[in-house]
Structure formats: structure tokens, C-alpha cells
């Protein structure tokens, strides 16, 4: 299959955990450190799924989701946001911006894979 | 995605290939509309279809309704691509009887999907 997933997070440890887990599950992973970095790296490269943190410098998760949805190539791809328990309004905001789903931090590798399988089919 | 049109007597043949998915849905709609304008009989055929989804299944249903309403005939050729057969089965479109709009009793969801 070779589905490509982009993970966007300013935390290096989360990026590592996410990419390690997804690679082990057979996906190809691209990482980005914030929204701006993500948009730069997406240029010209098709991805099947984006997993993004919400709190990031430069361009935060909500902003990234809005820009992705405005881009014809990313209009319909699934986008998963990583939220924390305390960010209920953020979750709503993210959904309104066009996020497909969310994972509440902290999460286990198995939960991550389950959600990815859920939205990628 | 790549479409070919061919007029064989009064039957317009439209051949679909490539990704019949939401990314191309607006284009697919235009092709079906144009074909419907051109002929009284429409035959949809498939070649090298790589992917499809619910939006294309909806379009087929919509096209058939439109054809029936304007007294035209729309048929789907066989064999049909496996990805399309699977999408129709998985989304539950297969019917024993056509819907109330199907006055010709020519519902496209009755045969050829199993």
C-alpha cells in the first residue's frame, strides 16, 4: 500500500514516538516541527493523512488545518489532531476548521494505530 | 482519470478509467451531463479503473434517475471493475427492486454486482 503520513509536532519525543509507531505499522512517515514547516514539506508531495499537534509556534494546528482544507490536493484527506483533556474548545475549533478526528494525549502506540486505521480504512 | 466518448449510431459510449473518486467528482459530473445531452442512449464502460468511492456511486445513481426522467436509457457495460463492484456492495446500493423514480424498471443496482 505504502500510504504516506505526515506528523506535525513541536515535541521531538512525540514526533519520534509517532513516526516510530507508524513505521512499525507499515506506513511511510514525514515529520514536520510546526505548521509552517508542514506546509513547506507538503509542497508537491502527496500525503494520505496528516497528524498534527495543536499548540505549535509559527503556525499552530488550527491554522494548519485551515490551510490544508483550502488546498485542493488536501481538501479531502483525513487530518487527525492531537489534543489534551483540557482543550475541549480547541477540539471544537479544530473540528470546525476541518479536522477528521482527534487523539487525546497521553495516548498509547496501539491507540494511535487504531485511529490511523480507522480514518485511512 | 481519462474519458473517451464515441458515438455509435445513437448510443453514446462513455469510457471511464483511472481514479473515479471525490477529487475528480466535479469533472465526472460534467462528463455525464454532457453525454446525457448528446444521446438518447448512454452506455458506460470501464477500463483500467484504479479507485472509486461513494461519490461516484452516487453520481451513477443520479445519472440513472436523470436519464429515466428524460426518457433516455442508461446502461452499465460488463465486466465492471472489481473496485467499483466492491464499493457498490460495501455501501449497500444493491437492490431487489428499483426506487419509485424507476418507472422503466431499469434500476442499475439490481444486477451485475455480486
Amino acid at each position: 500500500m505504502g500510504k504516506v503520513i505526515m506528523t506535525v509536532d513541536d515535541s521531538a519525543s512525540v514526533r519520534q514516538m509517532v513516526s516510530f509507531t507508524l513505521q512499525a505499522a507499515g506506513y511511510e512517515v514525514i515529520t514536520a516541527v510546526d505548521g509552517r514547516d508542514a506546509l513547506g514539506k507538503l509542497n508537491g508531495q502527496p500525503v494520505h493523512l496528516v497528524i498534527t499537534d495543536l499548540n505549535m509556534p509559527n503556525l499552530d494546528g488550527i491554522g494548519l488545518i485551515r490551510q490544508l482544507r483550502a488546498d485542493a490536493r488536501c481538501k479531502f484527506i483525513p487530518i487527525i489532531m492531537l489534543t489534551t483533556e483540557s482543550q475541549v474548545e480547541k477540539k471544537q475549533e479544530g473540528k470546525a476548521a476541518g479536522a477528521t478526528g482527534w487523539i487525546v494525549k497521553p495516548f498509547q502506540p496501539e491507540q494511535l494505530v487504531a485511529v490511523v486505521k480507522k480514518v485511512l480504512g | 482519470m481519462d474519458m473517451k466518448k464515441k458515438v455509435a449510431s445513437k448510443t453514446e459510449v462513455v469510457t471511464f478509467s483511472g481514479d473515479l473518486t471525490i477529487e475528480n467528482a466535479q469533472e465526472l459530473q460534467k462528463i455525464l451531463l454532457a453525454a446525457m445531452d448528446n444521446a438518447a442512449e448512454l452506455l458506460l464502460t470501464f477500463e483500467n479503473v484504479t479507485a472509486t468511492d461513494l461519490t461516484f456511486v452516487q453520481l451513477l445513481c443520479s445519472a440513472h434517475r436523470t436519464a429515466v426522467r428524460s426518457d433516455k436509457i442508461m446502461k452499465l457495460a460488463s465486466p465492471r471493475p472489481e473496485v467499483l463492484m466492491a464499493a457498490v456492495r460495501e455501501t449497500g446500493f444493491i437492490r431487489e427492486k428499483g426506487c419509485i423514480l424507476d418507472t422503466q424498471a431499469s434500476c442499475i443496482w439490481k444486477e451485475g454486482w455480486q
Binding site: 513541536d10 515535541s11 521531538a12 519525543s13 512525540v14 519520534q16 514516538m17 499548540n55 505549535m56 509556534p57 482544507r69 481538501k75 479531502f76 484527506i77 483525513p78 489534551t84 483533556e85 483540557s86 473540528k95 476541518g98 479536522a99 478526528g101 482527534w102 487525546v104 494525549k105 497521553p106 495516548f107 498509547q108 480507522k118 480514518v119 480504512g121 | 471525490i22 466535479q26 465526472l28 459530473q29 451531463l33 446525457m36 468511492d53 461513494l54 461519490t55 452516487q58 453520481l59 445513481c61 443520479s62 445519472a63 434517475r65 436523470t66 426522467r69 464499493a87 460495501e90 455501501t91 449497500g92 446500493f93 437492490r95 431487489e96 427492486k97 428499483g98 426506487c99 419509485i100 424507476d102
Partner: protein
């Protein structure tokens, strides 16, 4: 992989802390700088979020307090002051200390910092503290019940595709939960000129037969539920026996697609109802199609269930099974007599018949006993609930893991095993597993673990209850045993022996001991119950790490392997499961022991019970007696008898009411020639001896 993640987190956290210090100091100089405030917030947010993910729950919950305040600073509700910067710097140092894993000398600083931050929140002071995020739902929620059938009506939002969701994936996910049928409702699909091909016009009626329950279905729709119309109804609970589900018209009425009056009118027309409905336009073709599929789906599910039940099992009252086992037991006895007689007659024809009967009887016995075997999982599932409820009550976070649910045990054993296991689990929860706060401080995961496993080992079943709680305190138990006079202060004994004290009656009645020893009262009751099942129980524990309790049980109570022995003219049976060996006891041995009932066996001093004396039997013992060495709970005790005959399959008969409570006798059996042999209760016989041993 886990350690690698933890290391990566630490490294990152150190970097963030360094950056944090810098930002905080800069913030003091320019307290209005939003960029700086954002940086501080993000650093705290990442330290918290990732910390919780990689097992640093203490850091996560502590940092949460700081993050909460900086979130308010970001919103302009709290101003940056010198106090806030001081407090934040102190918090930063505290996080660093936690990262390094050494508790600062002054642990009281932490609550002070937390209180300081809470005090900064306008309005409710100290209210905002919401501890660490609750543990994610564990695998224990996937308890499977009987399969039920659900009707799910799902109408996604028209713009569902714009959120990246694909309804087909959801349908496929449901398909994996069980038997699944899907009918698309297409009425809303517009004509080609009017359709917006990027919108979803389809809704669905879905039929699912699954044992995973309502929540598993709702979970599938978790991301789309807010924007979709979703209705999940159980339409068959999986218990109805009949194979005739509702009629088509009734289904439509039940769904609200048709009113009852119209149905009655239609039925009067004596037309095929489906045709009539569509031709009159009362109900759309899609809806009729859906109702037809529902009818077919439920009927198929019911039929499958019936077939399964019909083919796989028939119900028999357990009393009938007990009677069967009883009869088989008697047959085994008669067969033994037949074999004995055949040997005496030395008739080859009779011997051949006797051998055949012996073989058949053996098979019959195994089969009959097998019928009463039940998988232990039937009681396991109840324990999930027990642990869940109890842990809530006691303020613990505990996951129960079970394994070996398929292990089979005799029904009667299983029934009597329930209470002891409940007791052990309760003990683990109450006295073993620490509160989440304490666990986090000890560096254990907040969520404790209890595992309950069953497995076969030969003719025995091993059941183990294991927790990762505080373990038993050897010193406390030792001190208590010495205080009770059960143990001389200078005597060295193994941990196993030491732990077995807590199962002696009278040991753990004192409340303060139970709290230090980490076990509740009533272990003596558990031990008695297990021994009544011809089983044994052993405790293993390491302070701070956890406790493991191992129960060994015979597969069945109806027939045991026994060692047949005699005293005078009388026969006795010792359960073979407790016998380790037999040795001789001569008059000289007895003389050498100077009146102590002790024998030297392989360089070990073993106390013994002289059964002839114990049962006050007349006559003189033979010159050479036999000691049957038994081992229970790690200690050996001998039983002295006249003669050891050999191994014997023993069908246990319970004693009459008058004899039932005779100490040291647990039952009786019939020998091949019809003689009665009493079955010795080794545990009870030995118990009296343990006290004497010390004096």
C-alpha cells in the same frame, strides 16, 4: 522501545527547561511580550503532554498547574508579575528535579508551588486542579456478551467529505464487528444537474449482529457523531428462541415508517404487503428494501443461534450429571472387583472380559468426568466487574488481566473456588495495590495490575493471583509470629514458610498487622477452602514489588489418585498430590529420637504424626513401620502407618452426617473387594502437629 522513548523525552525536556528559564527571565524584563508568553506556555504544554505519554505522570500533573495559569496569561486574564516569574522558576527547578528522579530534600515545596499557582487563578482559588488525565480505557472493556442484533440508522452530514471522513470506512469498520448488512437510502440523491458531487446524499440502515455491545458500535462513529444523525437500536437481544422475526409491516411500524392504521387497511386488501406499500406510495422502496433486509438479517441470526445451540450442546440438569458420575464411580469399584476376581480364577476367558471392562470403564469414567468440566472463564468474567467496582470504591486504578480462561475444572470445584478467589482479589485491591498518588511517587504506573491466570499442569490446575502492589513485609510478619510465640526469634525459616503464617488462624486478626503486612484478614479462611478442595496454596512476595498467590487444585473431586496404606486391619488412602515419598521407621529410629516424634529423612528432620496413636487404635505396631512424607506449604510432615500397599484410583464417597466432621478424615472409598477405606485429610492431621513441633 519504551525506554528509548523515555530517554528521548528526558533529553527534550531538559532542552525545554533551559529555554523556559531563558524565556522567563526575558519575560520579567518585558512582561507584555506575547511571543514570550506563548513560548512559556508551549514549553509547559509539551513538558506536560509528552510527560504523561512516556510515563512521567508526576511531572504531567505538576506541570498542568503551571500550564493552566499560563493559558490564562495568554488570554490576558492573569498578568505577568515578579511573583509569577519567581513561582514559575521554582516550578521549573522542581520539574528538573523530578526528571532527574531524585526527590528534593524538601518535598513540601511542591504543594506550596501548586497552591501558589492556584492562588493566581482569578475566581475559584484552587478549584482548577484536575489531576492527571484518566487512564485510557483498557482492553478489559471488550468483554463479550451474547451476540445481539442492532439496527443503526446513520445519516452523515452532507459535507462529511470536507472533514476528511469517509463513510465507507465506517461501514467497513462495523463489518468487522460481526454479521453485517447494509442498505443505502438513496431517496435524497438529486438529479445530475442539481447534484453537488462532493456532498453526501446517502444515508444508511445498517444491521449488525455482534457480541461487542452498544459501546463498540457507538465508538465506530466517534469522530462523526456530533454532525450526523445516528440512531442505534437493539432489535434482537440474542435470547429469543423463535425463528420468526416480525412481519414486514410490523417492522415498518416499529421504525415509525408506517402508521398502524395504514397497515391494518393494507392488510385488509390481501395483497402482497411489499407490493402494496410501494404501489400506494405509503412507504418508499428503499425503506421496504431495508425492512426486508432487517427481517432476513434477524431471522438468519436467530437461525444460526439455534443451529449453534442445537449442534453444540444440549442442556442437562446438573443433578443428572452428578448422578451419572456417582454411578460411574460405583462401576469403577465393581470393575476393580471383577479384575481381582478374574486374577483369582485364572481363567483366560474371564481375564479377557475383565480387561475389556477395565478399558471401557476407564473411558467411561473420563468421559463422564469431562462432562462436568467447565472453563474457569465462566467465573473470571464476573471478576472484571468486581475489580472495576472495588477499585472505584477504594480509590485505586487497577486493571485486571486474565489468562487461561479456557482452563477446565470440575463444576463442583469451580463453584467452591469463587469465594476464595473473590477474597484474594479483594485483598490485592485493598492491601496490595497502593493508591495512584503513592504509586506515582514510587515510580510505578498509577494504574496497578492484577493478573489472574489459570493453567493445567498434569492432573492439577494452577491458579495464580498476582499483583504489582506493595508486597508483604517479611519483618512485620516475622515480628508478629515471634510475638505470638509461633516462631523462636533466632530460627531462620524460608520466606515461603514465613508467609504461610499469615494463613494460620489467629494471625491476622489484629488490625494493625494487616495494614503493615499488606494482607487482609481471612487468609486462613481461604486456605481452609482450598484445602477442602484437596488443593494447596502458596504465597510468594517481594516487598514493594508485589505478591503472587498460587493455588494448586485437582482437576476433579470425584476421583483422586491416592496412596493406599494400612494400620492393623484397616485401610486408609492418602491423596497422592501431597505425598512426596515413603521411608521406613524402625524401633531404633524411634529410640534415637528420645521421645520426639522426629525422623531424619535425607539429612532433614521431619516431624511425624503417629496415626495408630492419633486414632487410638489397639494392638502393637510392627517392628518396621512406614512414614508417608507429605509436603504442604513448603513444610514436610510424616504420617506413620503400618504398611504401604500402593497407588490406587480412588472414587470419593462423602461420609454420612454423623462422620462428616471427624477431624483428619475427608471421605471414604470402596476397595475392589468391597472393603471401606477412609481418606485421610492430610492437612488437618498435620495442622495439630505444627504446634507440637515448636514445644
Amino acid at each position: 522501545m519504551k525506554d528509548k522513548n523515555r530517554e528521548a523525552y528526558k533529553e527534550e525536556a531538559y532542552e525545554l527547561l533551559a529555554e523556559l528559564e531563558e524565556s522567563l527571565l526575558a519575560l520579567e524584563a518585558s512582561p507584555e511580550d506575547e511571543e514570550l508568553i506563548g513560548r512559556v506556555f508551549r514549553a509547559m504544554h509539551t513538558i506536560k503532554g509528552s510527560g504523561a505519554m512516556f510515563g512521567f505522570e508526576d511531572i504531567a500533573s505538576f506541570t498542568h498547574e503551571v500550564e493552566t495559569v499560563f493559558d490564562l496569561v495568554r488570554d490576558g486574564q492573569v498578568r505577568v508579575t515578579k511573583d509569577l516569574v519567581d513561582l514559575s522558576l521554582a516550578a521549573r527547578d522542581e520539574i528538573r528535579a523530578m526528571l532527574e528522579g531524585d526527590e528534593p530534600e524538601d518535598v513540601h515545596q511542591r504543594p506550596g508551588i501548586i497552591a501558589g499557582f492556584r492562588g493566581l487563578i482569578p475566581g475559584a482559588a484552587g478549584e482548577a486542579g484536575s489531576g492527571p488525565a484518566p487512564a485510557p480505557p483498557g482492553e478489559e472493556d471488550s468483554w463479550a456478551g451474547a451476540p445481539a442484533t442492532y439496527r443503526i440508522r446513520f445519516r452523515p452530514a452532507a459535507d462529511i467529505f470536507l472533514s476528511g471522513a469517509n463513510p465507507c470506512h465506517l461501514l467497513n469498520e462495523l463489518r468487522q464487528l460481526g454479521d453485517f448488512n447494509v442498505v443505502a437510502q438513496t431517496e435524497a440523491i438529486p438529479f445530475l444537474a442539481d447534484i453537488n458531487p462532493e456532498r453526501c446524499y446517502t444515508s444508511w440502515d445498517l444491521f449488525l449482529t455482534t457480541s461487542r455491545g452498544f459501546d463498540a458500535i457507538a465508538d465506530v462513529f466517534i469522530f462523526v457523531a456530533d454532525d450526523s444523525e445516528l440512531d442505534i437500536q437493539m432489535i434482537d437481544d440474542g435470547t429469543a428462541d423463535r425463528g420468526d422475526y416480525k412481519k414486514l409491516g410490523e417492522i415498518l411500524v416499529a421504525r415509525g415508517d408506517l402508521d398502524e392504521d395504514s397497515l391494518t387497511r393494507l392488510l385488509a386488501q390481501r395483497q402482497l404487503i411489499g407490493e402494496a406499500l410501494i404501489s400506494t406510495g405509503l412507504v418508499s422502496g428503499d425503506k421496504v428494501e431495508s425492512a426486508l433486509v432487517e427481517q432476513r438479517h434477524v431471522r438468519a441470526a436467530q437461525k444460526k443461534r439455534q443451529e449453534n445451540e442445537g449442534a453444540a450442546s444440549i442442556r442437562v440438569p446438573s443433578a443428572k450429571l452428578d448422578k451419572l458420575v456417582d454411578l460411574v464411580g460405583e462401576l469403577v469399584t465393581v470393575q476393580a472387583r471383577l479384575s481381582q476376581t478374574a486374577i483369582n480364577f485364572q481363567d483366560s476367558q474371564l481375564t479377557a472380559i475383565a480387561e475389556e471392562v477395565e478399558r471401557l470403564t476407564g473411558d467411561l469414567r473420563d468421559n463422564a468426568l469431562n462432562m462436568r468440566m467447565l472453563p474457569i472463564g465462566t467465573i473470571f468474567s464476573k471478576f472484571q466487574r468486581l475489580v472495576r467496582d472495588l477499585s472505584g470504591e477504594l480509590g485505586r486504578q487497577v486493571g485486571l488481566i486474565t489468562a487461561g480462561a479456557e482452563t477446565e475444572l470440575d463444576k463442583t470445584v469451580l463453584e467452591r473456588l469463587n469465594d476464595p478467589l473473590v477474597h484474594l482479589l479483594r485483598n490485592s485491591l485493598d492491601h496490595g495495590i497502593e493508591s495512584p498518588e503513592v504509586r506515582v511517587q514510587l515510580g510505578k504506573p498509577a494504574r496497578g495490575k492484577i493478573s489472574l491466570t489459570a493453567s493445567h499442569a498434569g492432573a492439577q490446575v494452577i491458579i495464580r493471583v498476582q499483583d504489582d502492589g506493595r508486597g508483604l513485609d517479611q519483618e512485620a510478619i516475622r515480628a508478629k509470629a515471634v510475638q505470638l510465640g509461633w516462631l523462636a526469634p533466632e530460627v531462620e525459616i524460608s520466606d515461603k514458610e514465613l508467609f504461610s503464617f499469615i494463613m494460620s488462624p489467629g494471625f491476622s486478626t489484629a488490625r494493625e498487622v494487616t495494614s503493615v503486612s499488606g494482607r487482609g484478614v481471612g487468609m486462613d479462611v481461604v486456605k481452609k477452602a482450598i484445602e477442602a478442595l484437596q488443593g494447596s496454596i502458596e504465597i510468594d512476595s517481594q516487598k514493594g514489588v508485589g505478591t503472587s498467590i498460587t493455588i494448586k487444585l485437582p482437576l476433579t473431586l470425584a476421583i483422586i489418585e491416592g496412596l493406599l496404606v494400612t494400620i492393623e486391619e484397616d485401610y486408609f488412602v492418602v491423596p497422592l498430590s501431597v505425598v512426596t515419598e515413603c521411608v521406613e521407621l524402625t524401633r531404633e529410629d524411634v529410640a534415637r529420637a528420645h521421645g520426639h516424634k522426629m525422623a531424619r529423612v535425607r539429612d532433614e528432620i521431619v516431624p511425624y504424626v503417629h496415626l495408630r496413636e492419633r486414632f487410638a487404635m489397639e494392638g502393637l505396631p510392627p517392628a518396621i513401620e512406614q512414614i508417608v512424607i507429605t509436603e504442604m506449604n513448603g513444610s514436610k510432615v510424616g504420617l506413620v502407618v503400618d504398611q504401604v500397599i500402593g497407588e490406587q484410583q480412588t472414587v470419593i464417597k462423602s461420609l454420612g452426617r454423623v462422620y462428616r466432621h471427624v477431624a483428619g478424615i475427608s471421605g471414604a472409598t470402596l476397595l475392589g473387594d468391597g472393603t471401606v477405606a477412609l481418606i485421610l485429610d492430610a492437612a488437618q492431621l498435620v495442622q495439630g502437629q505444627a504446634g507440637e513441633l515448636l514445644n
